[in-house]
Amino acid sequence: MVQQIFNEYLPNMIKAGLQYTIPIAVVSFILGLILALLVALARISQLGGAFKIVKGISSFYVWLFRSTPLLVQLFIVYFGLPYLKIAGIFPDGIKLDPVVAGIITFSLNTGAYCSETIRAAILSIPTGQWEAAFAIGMKRSLVLRRIILPQALRTAVPPLSNSFIGLVKDTSLAASITLVEMFQVSQQYAGENYQPLMMYSLVALLYAVICTILTWLQSYLEKVTSKHITAGEGGAN
């Protein structure tokens, strides 16, 4: 048994993690972040007119993905969309590969949460920063790019890291749309060897290892990005 753990179970679970869990989490998070930034900017924008429609869509999107369970979203995208038959565009419905369905759903879901994080971080920057930048003649877009976003993203590092760590674990839900990621592999072994406690504990350990490494990365990132913003722990100057 012990030999099998090290020769078969663990290597194959790690392999699935490297092949699916981690890449899917990373790609989804990057796409989600881009989406989150755009949505946050749209929602704080002061543009009126037709742009109000964009703001409305952004708010609706955030509401939709925060008010429905991630597992249900995965099911709709993977099992539901094949039945969305639109003559001319999708006559046979939208059939997606599980990896693609997973990435789309995870990106949209994490994008909704992260957009609120980024929006809050932007709003947390004191108005004095806007005013000082306006006073030297900067346009709103330049102020955002040069002054506000660099500071806001630093503020957002801890909550965004939190979202990423959450996402890594949430990828296990993709097991239910036939994706053979880490958790799915452990399920298969548990079905074969009737050792569910052992198999699920092993996979839990692997998730914990990944998330611990990510937590270390987070504190490193926090230290680097907030170097000049705060006087550091203990308020030493």
């Binding site: 920063q129 005013e131 000082a132 306006f134 006073a135 030297i136 040069r146 000049h228």
Partner: protein, 246 residues
């Protein structure tokens, strides 16, 4: 020359500026005095268009702005290039070094080359006594040093006017003196300045003109001597209340 005519501004239901008219002569220092909440800061911020009065005319040199009409972003940017603001709370950019704070406007707004902007910024930092802090970050500076950097940052834009909104109110007396000395030196170079302050001794020393605002209107608008020797009861009691005497 900056000139305000019949400017009105309300915050909600409260009138802050009431039909205020005044002008700020070039190459001179105008000091704006008045009790807290009189509308001094609002007036100053209106000159930089950080505040938007509901009505009145603002002449910024050859540019005329009617506050009752929409202001184009082009006009706003032009006004802001002619007037620079120095804030009570400094508002330095914390993620930039001192030098980067000073060259940010010249490089990204005036599109100067980084080398030229850096060269000038170092001269300016030298003139405010902070050449050795060029690579420091705002978090490492004292309040007085921060405000001197903010002054250098505004000078780097070559504004016609520097607007200072209670520049030393957040500082203790020793640090205040540092900043006032720098302002005096700038005054001596005939830089046009408008300073909102509570420091009466400094006002008397530096002002070519005093504007005393109370309840959103100019109660006194004229030469410095005339203000400090005024026979007006309200002005006399204001000066008394601001001067320490037992």
């Amino acid at each position: 020359m900056l000139k305000l005519s019949h400017v009105n501004k309300t915050f909600g239901e409260t009138p802050v500026l009431k039909d205020l008219s005044t002008e700020f002569p070039e190459q001179q220092t105008t000091v704006v005095l008045g009790p807290s909440g009189s509308g001094k800061s609002t007036m100053l911020r209106s000159l930089n268009l950080l505040e938007r009065p509901e009505s009145g005319i603002y002449d910024c040199d050859d540019l005329q702005i009617d506050f009752a009409k929409p202001i184009t972003s082009k006009t706003t940017l032009e006004v802001r290039q002619r007037t620079e603001m120095v804030f009570q709370s400094f508002n330095l950019f914390p993620h930039f070094s001192v030098l980067q704070n000073v060259i940010e406007g010249p490089v990204h707004v005036l599109h100067q080359s980084k080398d030229a902007a850096t060269k000038e910024a170092l001269t300016l930092l030298d003139s405010v006594g902070l050449l050795d802090k060029a690579d420091a970050y705002p978090v490492e500076l004292s309040g007085g040093q921060s405000q001197r950097v903010a002054i250098a940052r505004s000078l780097a834009m070559h504004p016609q006017y520097i607007l200072l909104d209670e520049p030393t109110s957040a500082l203790d007396p020793e640090l205040e003196l540092e900043v006032l000395k720098v302002l005096l030196a700038i005054h001596d170079q005939n830089q046009s300045m408008i300073i909102v302050t509570h420091n009466m001794a400094f006002a008397q020393r530096v002002a070519n003109k005093i504007l005393f605002i109370e309840n959103g209107d100019a109660l006194y608008d004229g030469p410095t001597d005339g203000f400090f020797h005024s026979t007006n009861d309200r002005i006399k009691s204001f000066i008394d209340s601001m001067t320490f005497s037992i």
